[in-house]
Assembly symmetry: D2
Homo-oligomer: 354 residues x 4
């Protein structure tokens, strides 16, 4: 069947990527697009690369406009979707690409975001390992997504890091405290609002750190995911993002201490087992590491791991397209699962490179 | 007085940067430039930005050509300078920008480089803290450089990371094991030889890790420097470099565990004390972190630190121009010290930005 | 039906883009990939972004390997395909993405390429206007492509410029002499062979002209196309390409003198009429001009025109992805036409932006 | 002697480059810096690369603050300096890097800028050829700058293009109508104000044209300069700028029809004669063309010319750093001349590359 779809926040970067992917999806029909300051204007004025959607006009982002669609994707600034989604009465599946419904801890929300807390929705990272009850086998997050009606798409950095650490934590081959991640990330993740520090002249030819020292909002989201994967207590994580001169992409270098008594083969085996059957998360052969270029436009997370015995740490390097697998692709993959559509529908594993 | 200068390896990136800086230096006169495959050609054919040196022709890189100069800078591939420098008979000051004379451990050389070992020369990082004998105050590396006749300029990544950790190690406010560094670095550090993986199309718009898992050659150099700064034993370091799309620059994010019982103020004080009087290493105010753009062309290392109490780690972010402060600037600064010229002569603290 | 396909030169940039597009094409089955120095290795070692083709191994590029496929795409260096294609005995449709079969003039070939001349094949730019015999209406190049068995895919710069000027020449609203084009182009068009001048450090942060002064090999191809579009004599064209720091993309700024007595409205009408019904060439509204970002990965040529009455010139700005619409997309679009498959099959109009 | 200097608009890009150069200038002492919205803040908060100026605080941009300095540089948005400079009573030398005092034609000002017209000041392009009265030899613009008290620094694009065409026009070897220029330019020329179309994500990996079709404000300035160089009537010029992903730099490709009966040698000789004795404008040998990288941070304009006999056009490719030779360097060079300081003082010919 064909599902009617609305995209709220269609004039931004995440909204644009949702539409690019939805335009190729055989089961979704884009019926409505909304935008705040651009309401009334053609979508293509904001998204000149979406030539096949030249017929669409941006409408106001209101519950009335959005209600009545089978599926609504929200690509709004953090804090903007919570009040809106609460007013929906006739939407089968709502997927929030913003942060409003990601955190299960109200105190984490207060500490890292502030403003009104909204309850957490089903987390949209299908490949994430979910520890079972004592004695039961681990499952995947996709099991919880099947049949879901409200989904929180992940933060792009958060899901990349969670997928990087989860196999080792679930298998007990790494320690779950003293994790360290440094990310190289392109500025499209920061959105389309005009700020001086995001100007091209400020970003080209330079690497610029931000949110240094434990203040990035994706930290509690990562911790929450890793607790779900089996960390016995909330992991400690040093997390530093660095803006680098590429419009898209995340390269996350994540390291963890190898658990005492664990062999290198056991470490590698944990990641191999975790992703051997996954369509969209690929562990590269030993000695190979991914480049973000190879994931651009794709729903793929490429991962390479090294065991540094001298340092006593495993190094996991993961590459994703922050807008695709990091945001819009994850949202559509999750929607596919929720609706019973084959999980890979409308998504590609092949990147646009070079 | 004016010192006669030769630069060996003048057609490469490090050689070009040496010449750019030397051309403005009031005490040095560039008399000879040498290049391997380009010998006999005008320098400017290899270095079209060095307009003031259009009169120079590249000569062969031989001991005969180099001998007789007051100062010779070597900017040759690793392994190429050792045999050459051994044959010099009449050079007051030789400075090697390659790795051949950096490591004091022959086994480290064998493990990370291979080929014939050459004895270590005085290490060219003037600001580096050097622990004193028991009971004696710490000194700086510049004290050893005064009057030196043979100097090993540092690896660009190595000096950046050593400067990042040394204050904390020397002051005992961080643990010297389980260090973690991830660097964003531009490809000029990889040299001018043509390799497919360094093509523009392979590097633009993407972040590409390399030497993952403890294999990078700068690791033993960092460990050596940190032992010198007072680490009680050889530090363990997880070190991952990532090529990002900027021609120059290193942004090193380095983290270490805060020593038990140490306050945040004590941690910050260690770095403040270390660099308060330095011309070329600047600690930014609390909450500020550097961008590589601000160091381009300058001999400046900009540093910011954060104390992440939740993670139990200090995060040190350091930015340098890999060719300037990372290589050629460090070499000239060290040469100034060795010759008794004021240390900052011919060097600038101001970057070319944006 | 499904056509069996081979790609010769599958380890390069054009080969990679052909495969990326073919992998999504419902009527083509990629059966064979060949590569010169990489024969025997997995395709994915050369093309790590093509995750869905991880099962393919590169074979030698020989007639024996290629014969027997329904369709063979050649993505070889110029001069390499001519001898090879002459030996094929059992290939229904051969499409050469190199230059060997583009030029109808043996003397142009000798002047701009040299080496053995190969006869011209049907030119693969479907939207190109083809002037009719005297008294007959103009047609499009796609009419000649229908049923073709040998197709020369265009040079990426050449087709972009030909499409930019053809409407004006065909309609007689511009003069066909004294054309001027300056192109900004990314380095992927220069191929994957390692050359110093194509290193990332040589290309990032800089604009580098090449082939200045009428020496670029695409000039005779453009002239040939414009003669076909109705230029009364061979047009004169000043053509200057400039490498800029983006891996993909061509932005061609082309200007021509407005024919005496022609109004601005008549000029614009010529381009509007030419492309109003085209799927893959879009004329933007008056006052809007394209960006290459909006065409990345797409088979789209975006075009904007301005009439500069003070200068007496029309300015046509055209954006394409050099690897997609410029090369691989044009090849597949032409193959679709030749085989009677709907022209847009397996191709998208939407770019990957930002 | 030492001149006291103020820089108005010190928080922007042009202001920053002025300060970077002034900081190294032995005859100028930076005493005052002003900024609009940043008044009261440390300069270094806006210009974190200017480490040697960490002691300066931004003041309000008022006549009172600026009066009393020997030299005042204005780096304000167009339209902002005119009213301000009119109120100065005690400034020996004022140099406006904005457009307010560039145009001698009030109608050109009205057509391209609008707002109140301010009288033109002495144009700050020292190397520009100025045609003599009938029978008299040509001079240079530097002759008019000697002793000047009010100087209009040029538009960065305008001076680059004027220097490109002037030798041919002055020598009569090219036609002065039907000129065509296409420029690749980095976004720092567009200033530091936050606009969506200047965001990093909008500019990386893409070439974006703007002001297409004869609307760019530098067109009348170029025409004015070329009339001064001897064009018999106002030249017609098709001018198209293209933003490309580099923070700094202009690569201008300019073409003109070769005058009938002129030989290639005569054409080249015109440019050679024009710049043979210039310190900051270098004509490259035949067959060589410049890259913007080689001019970064330098006061150098590198130029290459080709005679395309088939097209009947000369092609002049000129590279400059838009902020240095294009703006701040030109201003300081002109100030040197005006004050009788050696022209090259405080400026370098060597670029920062790669």
């Amino acid at each position: 069947m064909t599902y009617s779809v609305a995209v709220a926040g269609a004039s931004g970067y995440a909204g644009g990527e949702l539409l690019r992917l939805l335009a190729e999806h055989p089961e979704f029909e884009i019926r409505t697009v909304t935008g705040h300051s651009n309401a009334g204007k053609p979508l293509i004025a904001s998204q000149p690369h979406l030539r096949s959607l030249a017929h669409l006009t941006l409408q106001e982002t209101t519950p009335e406009v959005l209600d009545g669609h089978d599926v609504v994707f929200f690509a709004l600034p953090h804090g903007a979707s919570g009040a809106l989604t609460a007013q929906l009465t006739d939407v089968r599946l709502a997927i929030d690409c913003g942060a409003d419904h990601r955190l299960t801890s109200e105190s984490d929300w207060a500490a890292f975001y502030g403003g009104e807390y909204n309850e957490a929705w089903t987390y949209g990272v299908p490949e994430l390992i979910v520890a079972g009850e004592p004695g039961a086998a681990a499952t995947r997050q996709r099991d919880q997504l099947a049949g879901a009606t409200r989904i929180a798409a992940p933060g792009c950095n958060a899901s990349t890091v969670a997928l990087s650490f989860a196999p080792g934590i679930a298998a007990g081959v790494i320690e779950s405290h003293d994790l360290v991640t440094v990310l190289a990330v392109g500025p499209s993740g920061a959105g389309k609002a005009a700020h001086t520090h995001l100007l091209g002249a400020e970003l080209m030819g330079t690497a610029n750190p931000y949110a240094v020292g434990g203040t990035h909002r994706h930290i509690p989201e990562i911790q929450q995911a890793l607790r779900g994967a089996g960390a016995s207590e909330t992991p400690t994580l040093s997390f530093t993002p660095v803006l680098v001169p590429m419009s898209r992409g995340i390269l996350a270098t994540s390291t963890a201490r190898i658990a005492p008594g664990t062999t290198a083969a056991e470490v590698r085996a944990a990641w191999e087992a975790a992703y051997a059957d996954e369509t969209f998360v690929h562990l590269l052969p030993a000695g190979e590491f991914p480049r973000t270029a190879d994931t651009i436009g794709a729903n793929t997370c490429l991962m390479g791991i090294a065991i540094d015995e001298a340092a006593g740490r495993v190094v996991v390097v993961a590459a994703v397209d922050n807008l695709a697998k990091g945001t819009a692709g994850a949202a559509i993959q999750s929607a596919n699962i929720a609706l019973g559509i084959p999980e890979a529908t409308g998504l590609t594993v092949n990147g646009v490179a070079p």
